[in-house]
């Protein structure tokens, strides 16, 4: 009902709606892959380290993988900490 420009329902999104939205996003990922974080990530990480090592020396913990699962897309953020030139030279 929204006669006279106001509705009987509160405009403010309810916390219950937030809960439902969060569950829908999460469960969509979980049902598809069994887990929101795919199992290939550890392997992906070691492969990335192996490739980088062909060119530069990186520590095992110099690679940081972050994932953000969204409703439309998921993004994978990979940060590689390269040794600074100064320390490499000196």
């Amino acid at each position: 009902m929204s006669f006279f420009g106001f509705s009987l329902k509160s405009r403010r999104p309810s916390s219950a709606q937030t809960a439902k939205d969060r569950l829908q996003v999460l469960l969509a990922h979980e049902r598809r892959g069994g887990s929101p974080s795919p199992d290939y990530l550890p392997q992906l990480q070691s492969d990335i380290i192996a490739v980088i090592r062909k060119y530069v020396t990186v520590e095992d913990d110099g690679v940081d993988i972050r994932m953000e699962n969204g409703q439309e897309v998921s993004s994978l953020e990979i940060n590689i900490e390269l040794p600074s030139r100064t320390t490499a030279a000196g």
Binding site: V25, L26, S37, D60, E68
Partner: protein, 282 residues
């Protein structure tokens, strides 16, 4: 204990949040207590021990940011640093989520010890959110604990399970098995407390529960609408605006770190003006 000015940072303290019975508020309490400690500036990490049924991530609102988990770290597939999720609200708070799929046997005593030892070098408080029951996940969550918070509802099966868990804390843990070690300091956190139902004699009182369990009381958290709201939005209740539940958790956190805070029973409903005029404040 409360001195913050010592030069040597204190070695991280491991606190398990446990209960035996499910649904009494372990994860809610683990989230609230860890957020409360972090809010006070203590470097805090909260670990989910419920392998296979991850839920702490949702309560903390970081479910979309999980990449690696506790089991990945134990199995050497990821570094601890990579699995830790830094809370976006408080920078002294981190979350170590559990695995969703892998089997419970992955939680080895050696693996858990190694992770906890590494966390102890970096964090002041390590909060272990135990799964319900007394199986492997619950055993591992309590094994290395220095202190325990036993979450109990004033209800028969919860009190019975709490008693059982208190027995395990004093027998099946490293402190219990190590000769000369101080026993785990266990305290009861009474949750879903309903003053109105206690007044009518429907619910056991705090004194009743403490008389049976015979351990100190950490706090009394009232049954509160704020708890469901906070979990809906993925925010620890202590960070989700003022509420009686949040105030009760703040008190509990203060006591946990050794402050003297007078015990108070916060009711969900405030006495109305009429009651106040009659001087019938609860």
């Amino acid at each position: 204990m409360t001195t913050q000015l010592t030069e040597e940072p204190p070695k991280g303290k491991v606190i398990v949040i446990t209960s035996g019975k499910g649904g009494v508020g372990k994860t809610t309490s683990a989230a609230a207590i860890s957020a409360g400690l972090a809010k006070r500036g203590h470097k805090t990490v909260v670990i989910d021990f419920d392998v296979g049924l991850r839920n702490l991530d949702m309560t903390m609102g970081c479910e979309r940011r999980v990449v690696f988990d506790f089991i990945n770290v134990i199995q050497g597939d990821a570094r601890l640093k990579q699995a830790l999720i830094r809370d976006k609200r408080i920078d002294t708070l981190s979350i170590l989520p559990t695995s969703q799929t892998r089997d419970k046997d992955a939680l080895t005593k050696e693996g858990v010890e190694k992770v906890l030892d590494e966390l102890k070098t970096e964090f002041d408080y390590i909060i272990c959110d135990s799964p319900a029951g007394i199986e492997r996940g619950a055993q591992m969550a309590m094994y290395f604990a220095d202190e325990a918070v036993v979450v109990t509802n004033p209800e028969v099966s919860s009190v019975r399970d709490s008693d059982r868990v208190l027995g395990l804390l004093s027998s099946q843990t490293r402190r219990a098995e190590t000769e000369g070690a101080d026993p785990i300091k266990a305290q009861v956190l009474l949750t879903r407390h309903d003053s109105a139902r206690i007044d009518t004699g429907e619910m056991m009182t705090v004194e009743d529960v403490l008389e049976i369990l015979a351990v100190p009381l950490l706090g009394i958290v009232p049954e509160s609408k704020a708890v469901l709201r906070a979990s809906n939005v993925g925010t620890p209740v202590i960070l989700d605006g003022p509420s009686n539940a949040a105030a009760a958790y703040e008190d509990a956190v203060a006591r946990l770190i050794g402050e003297e805070v007078e015990m108070r029973v916060l009711a969900e409903r405030r006495p109305n003006l009429f009651h106040r005029l009659l001087g019938r404040t609860a």
